[in-house]
């Protein structure tokens, strides 16, 4: 009871001292409150990002865990991470064994084979399309269409003429360019087209052999793809969503293109830029007049006008010209000028021009480089170094829910794993036989590297003795055969056993209960080691690449920042309290003189800090709670593409809970008590004599 009374007066004194030393306590309290606020905001944001990222990464392509070759040279990075092309992560030669072994492990829901690679794909050039169309028109004796194609091809020839003239100025081999110019001019002449109508086959062949090869292969585009078990992929990754077209039927080869990639890489540049502009103006609230970057976008769009005009056939062009004149009665010039005027929008004309473009231009042009249902040619250099092409049907487009806007997530296209293996350069028995046949036919013998010198230069050199085949005797034919096979490949079907029984680069593992990830990780390692699969198991954070480690990095940055802030705060608080202690020396000396023990003084100081810490911590923590709750309903916009992936969408809606406020409070109180150690110790050293010396 008596001790209680002493504690009560201690508490009362401490509490009243809070208000008696307002300047000091306001400064220190604000610091503490700010600290608590930061802790709540920081931990809530990080936790929310981690949750969002778990959702987007595990539900799109990474799964909860990934396994790959334990001797891999590089680290697996599902969302990029390496600076130079695809990282070398080794291979899983027999995926079937991995799948059957790992599926035995408790809590494993699915094991999905994967292989990420980059390839070039080709579609027909506009000239190819025009020549094809001309051929059909000639077959059908459709004179109208022949005339349209003649117009189009001659227009292209004229542009190529200009381009070659420019090239001639810098060309080293001018004779070659002169020959090309002669060919182009011949094709642009009336005589050629008269001749073509008399002998269509010869004419079209000339176009195919003389004109078509002069078009640079500018239409080869890069794309990234994941070869996988498409059925299992679609079933297991809950963020997957088909947008257009259909899924690739089971057992068939085919591709699904990422909608983001489709819209941004494959769409007509003018149409895409017009939509980008609309987003800037209507969603982000910018103006053309007020933002130089938006002005630049308009300028770039205007420069691309040919992407519209080139695609128009004569009557269409005429119709559009008329419509453009109605829209812009004051505009002068030809169709090129009119289209440029249409694209050169300002803040006032944007809406009408945009609507006009959608209504009158879009239906007349080919909006995408290829359409859903088209077959594209994909070419890669296989691991063994030779080029390899396959033709593959694009069945549909898809997106990862919440990540529609993310470039990182939008870069992944999906392909059946059988095609992936072909492109990767897996040797099937059939291919080995073919290769042996070729080797035999050209008289090549296998030479070990260490014997190479001897084989080449030794006295019994077999290599030199073998007669070389005549140049060109096998090359083109073999290529044609292979191409025909590749073309036919898309019609083959395969079984689940085919999918499982082959190579993969890595495999995604999805869990029944994601909260038991750590435990399952260990179990998978154990199972893999026991079966001597030679695999390493990494969690999704590590498997994602640099971006996946962002959360850990951001956490480290936050904690370091907090530690620095707290160290600074401890110094400031310490300093402030030392000053206050000196000011209160008489009061403390008096208490000591009239019989207080040092412990009482210590208790007083810590009580004051404790109360201030609790009050400031609660206020700061609640402010943080309020702030995060507000953000939780308003959302934090993702300022960059990487953050869309982290935020699992264009906005992060963070959540905050009482636990974070309580942790912040505890942390703040501890920090405050640490800051009080020295001033409190100093106060206990104040001698009672100080009270006697006080003079006013």
């Amino acid at each position: 009871m008596k001790r209680l009374a002493r504690l009560r007066v201690l508490g009362q004194m401490a509490w009243r001292n809070l208000f008696n030393h307002k300047a000091k306590n306001t400064a220190v309290g604000l610091l503490m409150a700010f600290g608590a606020f930061l802790v709540v905001v920081g931990s809530s944001t990080l936790d929310s990002i981690e949750r969002a990222m778990t959702r987007s990464v595990t539900g799109s392509v990474a799964g909860h865990l990934q396994v790959y070759d334990q001797n891999a040279r590089d680290q697996l990075a599902m969302f990029g991470g390496g600076f130079m092309g695809a990282p070398d992560i080794g291979t899983i030669p027999d995926f079937g064994r991995v799948k059957s072994t790992l599926m035995q492990v408790d809590n494993v829901k699915a094991v999905i084979p994967m292989g990420i690679d980059i390839a070039e794909f080709y579609t027909q050039t506009e000239l190819d399309q025009a020549i094809e169309s001309l051929r059909k028109a000639l077959d059908a004796r459709d004179e109208d269409r022949v005339a349209r194609m003649e117009h189009k091809i001659r227009a292209m020839a004229k542009l190529m003429d200009e381009e070659r003239q420019n090239r001639r100025k810098i060309a080293r081999n001018k004779a070659e360019v002169d020959q090309q110019l002669a060919d182009i001019r011949h094709i642009a002449s009336d005589a050629f087209w008269e001749g073509l109508r008399r002998d269509p086959v010869a004419g079209v062949t000339t176009l195919d052999t003389k004109l078509a090869p002069l078009v640079d292969e500018a239409e080869g585009n890069g794309m990234q793809y994941i070869g996988t078990d498409l059925d299992a992929f679609v079933k297991s990754f809950d963020r997957f969503e088909l947008v257009q077209g259909s899924l690739v039927p089971s057992g068939h080869r085919g591709m699904l293109v990422n909608q983001h990639f489709y819209d941004n890489q494959l769409r007509n540049a003018v149409a895409r830029m017009f939509d980008d502009l609309k987003k800037e103006l209507r969603e982000d609230g910018k103006t053309i007049a007020g933002d130089p970057l938006v002005q630049n976008l308009v300028k770039r769009m205007v420069r691309q006008y040919r992407r519209v005009t080139f695609q128009l056939e004569p009557e269409e062009a005429k119709a559009l010209e008329g419509e453009l004149r109605t829209l812009m009665p004051d505009a002068e010039g030809n169709l090129d000028d009119l289209v440029q005027a249409l694209l050169d929008v300002d803040d006032r004309s944007f809406d009408t021009h945009y609507a006009f473009f959608q209504e009158h231009v879009v239906p007349r042009i080919q909006l995408y480089l290829y359409d859903i249902g088209d077959v594209i040619t994909i070419r890669v250099f296989t691991r063994s170094g030779y080029p390899k092409s396959v033709n593959l049907k694009v069945y549909g487009t898809f997106t990862f829910r919440g990540l529609e806007e993310s470039i990182l997530a939008g870069a992944h296209n999906l392909m059946d794993i059988m095609t992936f293996r072909d492109l990767y350069g897996v040797m099937t028995d059939e291919k080995r036989a073919e290769l042996a046949e070729i080797k035999a036919s050209v008289g090549l013998a296998d030479v070990k590297a260490e014997d190479a010198e001897d084989a080449l230069f030794g006295e019994d050199s077999e290599v030199a003795a073998t007669p070389l085949p005549e140049a060109g005797s096998f090359d083109e034919l073999a290529e044609l055969k292979r191409a025909a096979k590749a073309g036919a490949a898309r019609d083959e079907t395969f079984t689940q056993a085919d999918v499982d029984g082959g190579l993969a680069l890595n495999a995604a593992i999805l869990l029944k209960d994601p909260s038991r990830l750590e435990e399952t990780w260990g179990a998978l390692y154990g199972a893999s080691a026991q079966a001597k699969l030679g695999l390493q198991v990494v969690d999704w954070r590590l498997a994602t690449g640099m971006i996946g480690q962002f959360v850990s990095l951001a956490g480290a940055v936050l904690y370091i920042a907090l530690i620095i802030i707290f160290i600074v705060a401890i110094f400031i608080m310490n300093n402030t309290m030392v000053m206050a202690t000196i000011e209160r020396a008489t009061e403390i000396g008096t208490m000591r003189a009239i019989g207080s023990r040092r412990l009482f003084i210590l208790g007083l100081f810590f009580s004051e800090t404790l109360m201030l810490g609790v009050v400031a911590g609660v206020l700061g923590g609640l402010a943080g709670y309020g702030f995060m709750s507000y953000l939780g309903s308003a959302g934090i916009p993702a300022p960059s593409d990487e953050l869309i992936l982290l935020f699992s969408g264009p906005r992060l809606f963070p959540t905050v809970d009482g636990g974070q406020v309580v942790s912040a409070l505890i942390l703040i109180v501890i920090v405050s008590l640490v800051a009080t150690l020295f001033p409190a110790w100093m106060a206990t050293r104040i001698q009672p004599i100080v009270a006697m010396q006080a003079k006013e």
């Binding site: 008596k2 009374a5 004194m13 009239i594 019989g595 023990r597 009672p688 006697m692 006080a694 006013e696």
Partner: protein, 242 residues
């Protein structure tokens, strides 16, 4: 009667830069219980140092100070705090009340530190002393709501609440006007007589000195004069509460 305070050849040196200042240079002094003694002398004469020795907030360089039978230099900090708490009461020149506590709480404060008395007894004593210093009506006021004289009365009540053997007052009237100062001395003198508490106070105010019953004059660190002005009366109110 045994001496309550006994100083024997007390010397106190203070370092002052490289020099050593000798504040006390061999002081012998004995004070009996119930005395009302003034330590007089000009500034710098050593009277505050002498009071500090008696008040156990300082120890002599050489010589011995015995307070209530205990030799102070032999005690540890904690024991000296206990001695101060139980045997001594302090009145300061600048009152030194705890600003955040009310008048009554300031008076109660030493009792709380002591911790031996129950709530009811504490309240009785606080009420009694506030009544004796004439501040019953101001019990709940904070120091900054009181006048200088009222604050010093609270300080006197606080000094007496533990019923100490000795009350020490260092220039208790220096911050008060002369009328209030004399009233405070009268109050101290009255309490000295009624409670038989030994009062030792310092001053350089001659009007205040005149109210003492014994005057010890100190100059240059030694006692230059020591005389009884009026005899210590028989206590009218014994320390029955003790």
């Amino acid at each position: 009667m045994d001496a309550i305070v006994a100083l024997n050849q007390v010397v106190k040196d203070y370092p002052l830069g490289k020099l050593t200042v000798q504040a006390l240079r061999g002081v012998d002094l004995t004070i009996a219980p119930g005395e009302f003694t003034v330590i007089a002398g000009p500034s710098g004469s050593g009277k505050t140092t002498l009071l500090n020795m008696i008040g156990c907030v300082d120890v002599p360089t050489t010589g011995s100070v015995t307070v209530a039978g205990q030799r102070t230099s032999a005690l540890r900090d904690r024991a000296r705090a206990k001695l101060r708490l139980e045997k001594l009461g302090f009145i300061f020149q600048t009152f030194n009340l705890i600003p955040v506590l009310s008048a009554a709480q300031n008076v109660e404060f030493p009792l709380l530190l002591d911790g031996r008395l129950g709530k009811r007894e504490r309240q009785r004593r606080v009420a009694e002393l506030l009544d004796q210093v004439g501040l019953s009506a101001q019990a709940r006021q904070r120091p900054n709501e009181l006048s200088g004289g009222q604050r010093q009365r609270v300080a006197i009540a606080r000094a007496l609440v533990t019923d100490p053997a000795i009350v020490l007052a260092d220039e208790p009237t220096a911050n008060l006007d002369s009328v209030t100062g004399l009233a405070i001395i009268d109050l101290m003198k009255d309490l000295n007589r009624r409670r038989n508490t030994t009062f030792i106070f310092s001053t350089h105010d001659e009007h205040v000195m005149a109210h003492a019953r014994r005057m010890v004059h100190i100059a240059d660190g030694v006692i230059s004069d020591d005389r009884v002005l009026e005899p210590t009366p028989t206590p009218t109110y014994d320390a029955a509460v003790a």
